[in-house]
Symmetry: C2
């Protein structure tokens, strides 16, 4: 087994072409910022050295590593309660098992910690590649992980994921559908309980929410940022329902916040859906168990995880990789939504 | 780094002592079947060669592997739906993260497949040790994994887990409490919807169920074996409620079967708890969301996972290890249990 230090890296290619590592990255990601001539010189150097963004990965994966990495930056307790990740991981595992491959799973406290972890996993040949999730605006993982040539699939909209091949759900389209549905029922004051500021898909959903409200001529309803926990959903719902101009409908960014919100509304004596409509995201079995059952933007999270793993194998096995969305979440109307009180 | 093949194995110790590998295993596990003289000879050979059941493990874990293994023999879809495993894994991860250690996770189709996988993980130094779950009666993993000296913690009653240090819940005591509670409410015909035949903790619960019924002078209620899925729980409930001598109370071995059972009872027009009482196991948030809410045998699954990981680190870091039960699941009465119809 050749030692990791003997691998050709992006640094070698940059030196050979007389450019910065950033320029090599731009060229290989087909981004503007390097001239045609420089691009050609970079490609020639890479060919000469036998380097491609994933080449060191590929030779490695064939040799030894039969695991792929997944680091999740969420509190452990939340991970155990939110159905999304277990369904997502079960989908990944269903594909990994076919390939005799395991998942190296780790909870981290920050994206910076994840960078160090992925670099070590890769250097020590513990992984053939990684699945990167929860992209932030200007995500700090992109540049250092592309630099080491980590083969990876990104879970997130291509506007967030740098040059990594990506798989995503069209959150903007789904939010617009949810808002239009509530508007058709007659709601004018709609609130959004979203994820944390800076988390890419939260930003996309929040922007789409505001845009959909504008297009319908509705005032921007209140938007609350949360950390996705049930407690956060309860707190947000309580403050929304105590406000003077309380909303008649609330759209939540996951299912456990919607479930907790339903509990709060009931406890405060608001009838759901007669006085306030609630709409959840993700639609795990939780949404079908509550009373009333929860209307949700539903998607096949298990299938999403499986698709992500398949694209990672496309990367590892040098098949042509195209970033692609999975099916857009679709509205499943249940008993928690109705016209607003007249 | 010394090559794995240079390690002293149980085979070397057996050869040096002039006995079989099985005899070495018996001696180190303090089991009957080897004479005092033979036992002494085995221990002397092991000391001479510097071998102990975990010695090769320990030297290794200090060198390289910063992951621990977990193989789960369940269908992927089920894993995504059953809250138990995600809460259990989140507890494991909470301790692993403190130690800068990752979890190598894999779904397998059989225990035989797991043996091969654990052997390979260990041989290729991908893991420092493993967490072994879902022990079966006469579990086929024990002997081959002890033979290679895999440092591991077993999740299961010591009667099932061979010589591995183990962490378990006292399922027998919890089942007895559940049955006595239903009997105090006045139930005489109690059914048990359990796990698959051969799975150790299912056998323990089933035996405890029959024993508790006998002690209370009740006829053995019907016992149904399942694979733990919601569909299994629905099917079992349907057939129990269609029977001529239908039970007035049903005890389920997990929460998703109880949730599905509640759906079936409602659909068949049986009022819960007025006509039939339902009692769940594990008590995830699912049990608090149903209508009526589900009475359950509740335990801290996240804390259980954390405790398992801590014992594994005791093994890896050569601290004294004692097998120990975690807190016994305790009854949380909610709205799905009541006296039987008079």
């Amino acid at each position: 087994m050749s030692s990791p230090s003997a691998r050709v890296t992006i640094k070698d290619v940059a030196a050979a072409a007389g450019v910065s590592k950033g320029a090599v990255s731009l060229a290989f990601n087909h981004k503007p910022g390097v001239s045609e001539a420089t691009r050609e010189r970079i490609f020639a150097a890479a060919r000469r050295l036998g380097w491609s963004p994933n080449s060191s990965a590929r030779s490695l994966s064939r040799q030894s590593a039969d695991a792929v990495g997944l680091a999740i930056c969420r509190p452990a307790r939340l991970l155990g309660l939110e159905p999304f990740y277990m369904e997502f991981i079960s989908g990944i595992e269903s594909v990994l098992a076919e390939r005799d491959c395991s998942l190296l799973l780790r909870l981290v406290d920050s994206l910076e910690e994840e960078v160090g972890l992925q670099q070590r996993w890769w250097r020590e040949q513990q992984i053939a590649g990684s699945i990167l999730v929860d992209f932030h605006d200007e995500d700090p993982r992109i540049s250092p992980l592309q630099e080491i040539g980590l083969p990876a699939v990104a879970v997130g909209h291509p506007s967030l994921t740098g040059g990594f091949p990506s798989v995503w759900t069209d959150d903007a389209a789904a939010v617009a559908e949810a808002v239009r549905y509530l508007a058709v029922l007659g709601h004018r004051r709609i609130a959004h309980v979203g994820g944390p500021r800076g988390l890419g898909h939260s930003t996309i959903r929040t922007t789409a929410f505001e845009q959909a409200m504008s297009e319908l001529g509705l005032e921007h309803g209140p938007h609350v940022e949360t950390g996705f926990s049930g407690e956060d959903g309860a707190r947000a719902t309580r403050s929304l329902l105590l406000a003077g101009d309380r909303p008649t409908a609330i759209l939540y960014d996951n299912d456990i916040m919607a479930v907790a919100g339903l509990g709060v509304a009931t406890e405060m004596g608001f009838s759901v859906p007669d006085e306030v409509s609630l709409l959840a995201w993700d639609d795990s079995q939780l949404c079908r168990l509550t009373h009333p059952t929860l209307t949700a933007m539903s998607h096949d999270v298990h299938g999403f995880g499986a698709q992500v793993a398949r694209v990672l194998f496309d990367v590892l096995e040098e098949r042509e990789v195209t970033s692609r969305p999975v099916a857009t979440p679709s509205l499943v109307p249940r008993a928690s939504t109705a016209p607003p009180p007249s």
